[in-house]
């Protein structure tokens, strides 16, 4: 600009640095992914509805009203009717959603962390750590997911805590595999060699350099994992082994309503639809993220 002038306060023209322009371009692309945006919006709506339940309904999910059992849609001010104990279905749906969503999200984070750590160790160090971890993975994977979950619930007893432990004990495997696979490839990249020759500790290399690049695949997988967890939680609750009454939950709602399928079909059908729609939102997010990563976004 005005380089050699003796002017005390030259006002440089505000040229935005290139980095900002690049970031702006990436963000614009992020917004433009229809799959991802649809999924996020849908999920946001679901979360808002469940956690904003007090705004959407005046009924309490636990209040029984034995004088008004099994009401149909819209009767007596109950949007979706009542169950056999007179509890408002709409309220139970929303408050139950809070429980199921919360449990599923927490149930995904623990295996994510455990699996990523173990997978990084296996992938980075190789050798016997790798062999041992891979063997354990092979064995865990040899069992159907649900069989192990149910067996662990037997051992640990019913309830929320058992769900977390059971799912973590089995679910870490997928994250470990993904992380190990990515790290085995990534550790041969130049920037890792540079870090190693710079004398950085392995932990630092894994944590600061490798993982941030490698964790995106796991995040995509986590989306489908949450769906799987929701289904597992709902199934356990349906069997009576998961969330215990009186806490509202979609699984127990389905179970409670199954005897009335021919008359008050909404008792069982609606919670299931809620699960499907939540699954749809999460799958859209997962797909959208995968697409974004594939076309080289953030």
């Amino acid at each position: 600009m005005s380089a050699v002038s003796a002017d005390p306060a030259p006002a440089p023209a505000p040229v935005p640095p290139p980095a900002v322009t690049r970031v702006r371009a990436r963000r614009a692309r992020w917004y433009r992914q229809p799959t991802l945006m649809t999924g996020l919006v849908l999920l946001a709506v679901i979360v808002f509805m469940c956690y904003g339940a007090s705004l959407l309904t005046s009924f309490n999910p636990d209040t029984q009203n034995l004088e008004q059992p099994l009401l149909g849609l819209g009767q007596a001010g109950h949007l979706l009717g009542t169950d056999q104990e007179g509890r408002d279905t709409w309220a139970r749906l929303l408050y139950g959603g809070q429980v199921d969503l919360r449990v599923a999200f927490i149930a995904v984070i623990l295996p994510f962390i455990l699996g990523t750590i173990l997978g990084s160790l296996a992938g980075y160090f190789g050798g016997w750590a790798d062999t041992v971890i891979m063997r354990i993975i092979d064995i865990v994977v040899a069992f159907p997911f649900f069989v192990l979950v149910i067996a662990l619930v037997f051992v640990l007893g019913t309830g929320e805590k058992s769900i977390y432990i059971a799912i973590t004990a089995i679910g870490w495997v997928s994250y470990a595999r993904i992380t190990r696979g990515e790290i085995t490839v990534a550790k041969r990249q130049e920037y890792v060699l540079a870090a190693q020759s710079g004398g950085l500790s392995s932990l630092r290399i894994i944590g600061r350099h490798l993982l941030p690049n490698v964790v995106t695949q796991s995040i995509v997988y986590a989306m489908s994992d949450i769906v799987q967890d929701i289904i597992a939680i709902v199934t356990l609750s349906y069997l009576g082994l998961g969330i215990q009454p009186p806490t509202p939950d979609w699984g127990t709602m389905i179970s409670a309503g199954q005897n009335f399928l021919t008359t008050q079909w909404q008792l069982t059908t609606i919670p299931g639809i809620a699960v499907v729609i939540t699954g749809l939102a999460l799958s859209l997010i997962g797909d959208g993220l995968a697409d974004l990563l594939r076309t080289g976004g953030s």
Partner: protein, 314 residues
């Protein structure tokens, strides 16, 4: 002959996994601190019952000895005694295995029968309306709880329209086909999302391959082209995907058996859970594990059979 040795080599590689499976099932109850007998009987159990169970299961001996005992009995076909039914567990397993196997095969057949045409329709006109519609199916299907779908099918096609029996295994071959249709369909629908996606993806990959252009240049008509050239190549990666998801498929049968009251391993397991019948739980889990391992072997063999290139460098 290369094929035979490949299969044998895979069998050998599976042994450590099988051993691991037995270790896990054996140690399931020992995983939590405290007396395993208490775990089985529950916290409120009578101390003398606990002591009796201790003796029966040999729980006072060192772990390794217990494990050897377990393995030894296993090789003699002795899976212990059911705590609830008071009969040998092996007889329970033998009587409950056939319905589960039926369900599995039936579901696999239905799953393939639904997925292959849909995937073909989608891939042959990529990005057309029907492609987008078909791609929505897996999105919905992934979030579908199998037991819930089973309940819906049961109510609508069974109770209301009376097309199929709502429970039970049925008698005779056609009886089984009829009674098991709804449960098999339920399990198949759980399988379809994964199958449709992977088959569609691999078909798209194959459709862009050079040899497909060659076949088109030869004037091969579209149906023959799709089946003998495209599909025949596209199934190969899909078989692998099917194999990977087989564990999920088998897990699905567990809950579906309960919904449709099918006397298979799944119902046996769930009852055992409620009755705290540890020996049964352990054995059924073991059987499931072995099933998965065997099916994985089958998938590997199928893969080799389908892809002539693999035979020679395996």
């Amino acid at each position: 002959m290369g094929r035979m040795s490949f299969v044998l080599r895979r069998l050998v590689l599976l042994v450590p996994t099988a051993v691991g499976v037995t270790i896990i099932t054996f140690f399931m109850v020992h995983l939590i601190p405290g007396n395993p007998a208490v775990t089985i009987l529950g916290q409120r159990a009578n101390p003398s019952t606990v002591a009796a169970l201790d003796k029966q299961l040999g729980l006072n001996q060192p772990l390794i000895e217990q494990y050897w005992l377990f393995i030894d009995r296993l090789f003699h076909g002795n899976l212990g005694q059911s705590l609830y039914y008071q009969v040998p567990v092996s007889s329970l397993i033998t009587s409950h295995l056939p319905p589960t196997l039926w369900l599995l095969c039936y579901a696999a057949v239905l799953g393939v029968a639904i997925s292959v045409p849909l995937a073909t329709l989608a891939a042959s006109r990529k990005d057309a309306v029907r492609d987008h519609v078909i791609r929505v199916v897996p999105l919905l299907g992934l979030g579908l709880p199998a037991f819930w779908f089973g309940l819906i099918l049961q109510t609508w096609l069974g109770t209301k329209l009376r097309l199929f029996p709502v429970t039970g295994y049925g008698q005779g071959f056609t009886g089984h086909l009829h009674s098991m249709f709804l449960p098999a369909l339920t399990v198949a629908v759980a399988l379809c999302p994964v199958l449709i996606r992977s088959l569609r993806a691999s078909m798209l990959g194959v459709l862009g391959a050079e040899f497909v252009t060659t076949a088109r240049a030869k004037g091969v008509p579209a149906p023959r082209l799709l089946v003998r050239h495209v599909l025949r190549n596209a199934v190969i990666p899909a078989v692998t995907v099917l194999g990977i998801n087989i564990g999920y498929l088998i897990g699905g049968t567990l809950i579906v058996e309960q919904v449709f009251a099918i006397p298979g391993l799944g119902s046996l397991m769930i009852n055992a859970i409620f009755e705290r019948d540890f020996t049964v739980i352990q054995s059924v889990a073991l059987v499931y594990g072995v099933l998965v391992v065997l099916v994985n072997l089958l998938t590997d063999v199928a893969y080799v059979a389908l892809d002539p290139r693999v035979r020679f460098d395996a």
